[in-house]
Amino acid sequence: MKQVTAGSRPVGALPGPADVLRRTLPNGITVLARENWSAPSVVLEGYLLVGNLDEPEDLTGLASYTAHMLSRGTRTRSFAEINEAVESVGASIGFGADRYTTSFSTKSLAEDLDLVLEILADELRAPAFPADHVEKVRGQRMTAIAERANDTRQMAGLTLRELMYAGHPLGRDLLGSEQSNAAIGRDALVEFYETFYRPQGMVVVVVGAIAAEEAVAKVAARFGDWSGERPPRPPLPAIPGLDGVRERRVPMPDKSQADIIFGWPAMPRLHPDFDKARLANTVLGVFGMMGRLGASVRERAGMAYYAYSRLAANKQSGLWLASAGVNPSNIERAMRAMRAEVARMANERVPADELADCKRYLTGSLPLQLETNDGVASLLADIEWHGLGLDYVQRYRDIINGLTADDVQAVAQKYLTTDRYALAIAGPMQ
């Protein structure tokens, strides 16, 4: 059959050592830059080594509250001035705190990068924490907490985390509770900022219509004279394993649909099991229309609009989750179907054609993820965070293609246990 083929012009290769510039500044900041001249825009993305693992125990939400405050005014710019300057040129600057890191990102036309970098540096290096804005932000966070309490998907997720981590620091809620947010004062925000926002270990990725050397020089000009190290983070205690089934149901009687989440402890990102688990997860709840979970719960049983699985891995052991949203009358039936698919992963080898399909998906979809500046910047930041090396994208295909059906079954047997898991259900109960 006649096929349409790619245009005759050579097109951009995947990012790698040949076209990504990586420089470490004397103060410990790593800068990565990749040029893309197809659109007149630039994305900048990066992170600092501060996260909710650094919060005092009683001030849950302090890290995200602090990140929330960065845009609220600096020593020389008011909140309104920042917004007017950035938004007048159609640009954006954003911050967000996670467990290990606090990330930042900007998007602008290339012609406005200088302006955006200047304001980003001001926000990261000289935030003022204006007292009136501490209160404004508190009100928004309280509303977000109230909205979450009325959202089945978020409540199932929050409950699952509590069950899985049972008081371990990695189980801390990023947003925090009404009580903890009420207890966070301006002093605590300033102290958290002063203690932990330091350039050592900071990473900045610049992708777009700017020469790579010029991008590095611009970052160096704004951040090169920032100095200091944060206090070391104490090692995390071991994550308590699951010795059986931990289940909790959150009744939300007036809702139409219930959310179900199964969870298992996974592995760190750099553990040899990770890629095997990534392939197993693709089989279980990603490939095509959400993998085997989608085929069973959605396509064959017609019980759910969504049923899928996700694997999240970071420095320490991550989470492997299987989720579905179902009518309350189908909760038990959907759970049985999900458990059966999970058990089948461990009990049966994945057939050769299904395995080959999933491998082709994992390797073949990479160009799609790397089409936009955001996609490339996110990948480069992730590669840097995990120390995967700039040749990672080139190695990735071989890593995936080297995996076998036995690898997939072994990793499913090891992690996806049907007698040990956490289970959270939020919604109307019958």
Binding site: K2, Q3, V4, T5, A6, G7, R9, V11, G12, S38, A39, S41, A80, N83, E87, S88, V89, G90, A91, S92, G94, E135, K136, G139, Q140, M142, T143, A146, E147, A149, N150, D151, T152, P253, D254, K255, S256, Q257, G288, M289, A295, E299, G302, M303, A304, Y305, Y306, G325, N327, R360, Y361, G364, S365, P367, L368, L370, E371, T372, N373, D374
Partner: protein, 435 residues
């Protein structure tokens, strides 16, 4: 517009419109097919039928049996989806460019050969009801659906795309199949392709695969027109939670209306520029008038407005999340005062220039992605024609301060609004109901 990547439009003999834009920055191509059918083309008893038909197009043809189509695309590393909206139904595949032929074969096949197997149709009924119930969990969906129903009486924009529960329970396989046979034909479809391909080869292959499909029967005549609104309408929805939500909507100009671009400027000045990516990523818009009037004043946790670009006049709507401890009445009063202001006072030249620059930036961002481009090419042809997209920034730049005030005066009068309140009835006896 970007002259380096010109847009080419062709109509095949069977009526299929084809829009092509080569973009060679990445080895990726996005193929879209659009049908001129959405909830706009539905009536009582079959609300939601267009969306259900869209689901059935993933349930198999003789060539790609149920489950095979999504696997075939995924194994080539592709991304795919279908979307139904008030004015259209669309399907796309984005693939590594040397594999894009699969998309053409899939779409040419299911334009004519979808099976609508009765058993699969029944299974999909409960999937769609589940999709509806998932939406019902969201207070903003409940409020939006009620407000839409209050704002439109004669026009099918009255009902939401997902359809009413009773129709989802009662609709039959034969009704679904008849809807498919009526609207899925080359003379009612648009193909839009953006990305890394050769135009002549692509057009040849489209003609080869789609050219043999005969045109469909004459399309049902569309006659619905919403009568003028003769006074403010109000709707209250009660539901679980402790957070209250406000939505206020006015009739918007259609995408081809001479007032449309001035309305885009007004929307941008009030609520900021909207992101054009299909996958979100809009800007926070904290320098917009609404943010300053509602969020900075600590009345709302967020506030926004949105103008839909549509075939017939749809809605220009304002939404706000009431901050804990504040009331719907307070937020409504502040929002209406802001609307009064834009009627009574001209916006500044600076605000006008800012709105245009913001939109220019969003256009630049959207050209990074062939999937976003494919979307905009086809969408433009649905609501107007592709020159609407090509000329968008020029038309916007031609808008004057007087134009903005004129459309605000004409279209944002109190008697033309529909006001919706989501009143939370709490999760327990002690909850503040936010009124």
């Amino acid at each position: 517009m970007n002259q380096l990547n010109p847009i080419h439009k062709t109509v095949l003999d069977n009526g299929l419109t084809v829009i092509l834009r080569e973009m060679h920055h990445a080895a990726v191509t996005s193929f879209w097919i659009w049908y001129r059918v959405g909830s706009r083309n539905e009536h009582a008893g079959i609300t939601g039928i267009s969306h259900w038909v869209e689901h059935m197009l993933f349930k198999g043809t003789p060539t790609f049996p149920q489950g095979e189509l999504d696997k075939a695309i995924a194994r080539e590393g592709g991304m795919f989806n279908g979307m139904t909206w008030i004015d259209f139904t669309t399907y796309f595949e984005t693939l590594p460019s040397d594999r894009i032929d699969l998309a053409l074969r899939v779409e040419a096949d299911r334009m004519a050969n979808a099976l609508f197997d009765p058993a699969e149709t029944e299974l999909e009924r409960t999937v769609i009801i589940s999709e509806r119930q998932g939406s019902e969990n969201n207070p903003n969906f409940l409020l939006g659906e009620a407000l839409q129903a209050a704002a439109f009486q004669a026009h099918p924009y009255h009902h939401s795309v997902i359809g009413w529960q009773c129709d989802l329970e009662a609709m039959t396989r034969d009704q679904l199949y008849a809807h498919y046979r009526t609207y899925y034909a080359p003379n009612n479809a648009i193909v839009a392709v953006a990305g890394d391909f050769d135009r002549d080869a692509m057009l040849g292959r489209i003609a080869e695969l789609f050219g043999a499909i005969p045109p469909g029967p004459p399309l049902p005549r569309f006659t619905a027109q919403e009568p003028p609104q003769r006074g403010e309408r109000r709707v209250i929805v009660e539901g679980p939670g402790t957070t209250a939500y406000l939505e206020v909507a006015f009739r918007a100009p259609a995408a081809t209306d001479p007032d449309y671009h001035a309305m885009v400027v007004l929307d941008t000045i009030l609520g900021g520029a909207k992101g054009m990516s299909l996958w979100g990523g809009g800007t926070p818009n904290r320098s917009s008038r609404l943010y300053k009037a509602l969020v900075e004043t600590e009345l709302a946790a967020d506030a926004d407005c949105s103008l839909s670009s549509t075939i017939d006049p749809y809605l220009f709507s304002f939404t706000a999340t009431v901050r804990q401890g504040r009331t719907l009445a307070e937020v409504e009063a502040a929002l209406l005062a802001e609307i009064e202001r834009v009627i009574n006072e001209p916006v500044s030249e600076e605000e006008l220039a800012k709105a245009i620059k913001q939109t220019r930036a969003q256009f630049a961002y959207s050209s990074e992605s062939v999937t976003d481009q494919g979307y905009w090419l086809g969408f433009s042809e649905i609501v107007a024609d592709v020159s609407w997209f090509e000329q968008f920034l020029d038309r916007l730049a031609a808008v004057t301060v007087a134009d903005v005030q004129r459309v605000a005066r004409a279209r944002l009068q109190p008697r033309l609004r529909t006001v919706g309140w989501y009143v939370p009835v709490g999760n327990g006896p002690d909850d503040n109901d936010g009124r």
